[in-house]
């Protein structure tokens, strides 16, 4: 991690000094070591604050909507999964691609601080990593755990190490065809084949409607309507959002009725149907830990099953499944038919 960080910083400095870009969007240290914050750096001095570690999970592509409208090129540090969001936004003409220089950076999966805490490790002051082992400094002394045990939920279903869009790649070793994967420690990499991302969706589908209803009531009733899931989502990019309309009856912070929570989450998930890249940011930022990605994944699963496999953001040209149709699409009655006995 340290080595790749050095390479990224060198590259960024070079591009800034050479005038290719006039600013850089990356991460800077937050209040704690585990919460790096997205930041724009405009000079070599400011760039000293740049950070890239195993907690830089946030996807920077959404910030490019506004940043790419400003003067001059911006250097964007994008991890492989972030490039899906980037492509999707380019496709929707939300990012001015000419104003962005994408530096594809390698990623070996991001760490979830909450998972470390769940292991019973408290008072964490720092982390050092070596391959798959994490050494965690705490106020009670040193603890250790396996890196692969504390990866973020979204990293467990990694889409691969291939960058879908980039101008240049930064890898510890020589990049091979848009991928940095040769350089990654194999042990720290989540296995792509063994994790079925629809596992939980299938489990829910197998429940009875009553069980499903109470599952979602339990989860969605935790919602505090902070709108973090909407704000972070690289697909949610409307200038005027439906939820910002005070007259809609669903814009209030405090939910007055259970319906409001349901409606908010149905609409949020449905608005990104066919455009959701399954980046999992919504669940990551949720302060209430609602598994929001399960709503999106249900739609993705349906699209894959009914209209053919589709991965949003894989390219910046193809038509999304909801802006397209086929003459022989299944009828909506299929929902009831394939539902089984329930």
């Amino acid at each position: 991690m340290q080595r790749i960080f050095g390479l990224i910083k060198d590259k960024a400095e070079k591009l800034l000094a050479g005038g290719t870009v006039n600013r850089i969007i990356g991460w800077t240290g937050g209040e704690f070591f585990y919460d790096p914050t997205p930041a724009v750096f405009k000079s070599k001095e400011e760039l000293e604050g740049l950070v890239y570690n195993s907690f830089c999970a946030s996807n920077l592509s959404k910030y490019l909507i506004n940043e790419s409208k400003k003067d001059g090129k911006i250097l964007a540090l994008l991890k492989p999964c972030d490039t899906y969001g980037f492509n999707q936004l380019v496709k929707e003409h939300r990012i001015n691609k000419d104003n962005v220089y994408v530096l594809g950076i390698e990623c070996s999966g991001m760490i979830d601080i909450n998972k470390i805490r769940d292991l019973g490790i408290k008072g964490i002051t720092g982390i050092s990593e070596e391959d798959d082992s994490l050494v965690i400094q705490t106020i009670y002394g040193e603890k250790s755990c396996r890196r692969s045990d504390v990866l973020l939920e979204k990293c467990l279903c990694c889409k691969g190490k291939q960058h879908m869009a980039y101008d240049e790649l930064v890898c510890a070793d020589k990049p091979t065809d848009g991928s940095c994967q040769d350089t990654l420690e194999a042990s720290a990499k989540p296995s792509e084949s063994t994790t079925d991302r629809f596992e939980m969706v299938k489990k829910l589908e197998a429940m009875s409607p009553e069980e499903r209803y109470s599952f979602w009531r339990d989860e969605l009733s935790k919602c505090i309507r902070c709108n973090a899931c909407r704000n972070i989502c690289p697909s949610c990019s409307c200038v005027k959002c439906v939820f910002d309309n005070d007259a809609s009856g669903i814009a209030s912070k405090a939910n007055t009725d259970a319906f409001e929570e349901n409606l908010f989450h149905i609409i949020r998930a449905f608005h990104v149907a066919g455009r959701c890249t399954d980046c999992g940011e919504c669940s990551r930022v949720c302060p209430q830990h609602i598994p929001l990605h399960l709503l999106n994944r249900k739609i993705i699963k349906d699209i894959n099953e009914l209209y053919g496999e589709y991965q949003a953001g894989k390219d910046a040209e193809s038509r999304g499944p909801l802006t397209d149709f086929a003459m022989d699409d299944p009828e909506p009655g299929i929902v009831a038919e394939r539902g089984g006995d329930h």
């Binding site: 599952f215 149905i266 449905f270 709503l295 909801l322 149709f325 003459m327």
Partner: protein, 152 residues
């Protein structure tokens, strides 16, 4: 206008039918002129095309007390605007699947293609749908308490 939902304590559902102007609405018209009966609890909302039905309309209908929502449009291939109903078909399939996923009874939502010549079909579809909703009972999962004032 408050809508009476119960009569002598007996459940009287409220069904919202979104009908496309070109086929299904004319189909409903034909059902009427042919003296075919369909339940009075079906409230028809005329839309220019089935693809005009925003998923939000369906949710709104449930919020305001509908017990069932049915969307009727031209048969695939017969859309007045050539392809509108194809888009509606995908959209509604995903929406219904989503509602099912959240535990809402799948019988409460339906899409039917009814042409202008199918008065009989319109009346059959509505009778059958109304029967399903009668069996399912009141929509308790997606109603909004604040909207109770609209209803009796």
């Amino acid at each position: 206008m408050p809508i009476k939902k119960s009569k002598n304590g007996e459940f009287k559902p409220l069904i919202v039918a979104f009908c496309c102007n070109w086929c299904s609405y004319a189909g409903a018209d034909l059902a009427g002129t042919s003296r075919l009966s369909y339940p009075a609890e079906v409230k028809i909302i005329r839309v220019p095309c089935s693809c005009r039905v925003n998923p939000m309309f369906v949710l709104r209908a449930f919020q305001r007390g509908a017990d069932g929502v049915i969307i009727c449009g031209c048969h695939p291939g017969d859309c007045h605007y050539s392809t509108g109903n194809y888009y509606a078909r995908r959209r509604m399939t995903l929406l219904f699947s989503m509602l099912d996923y959240l535990g809402i009874e799948r019988g409460r939502t339906k899409v039917e293609w009814v042409s202008a010549a199918e008065g009989v079909k319109f009346s059959t579809v509505m009778n059958e749908f109304s029967k399903t909703i009668h069996d399912l009972g009141e929509n308790k999962k997606l109603g909004d308490l604040r909207c109770k004032e609209f209803l009796d």
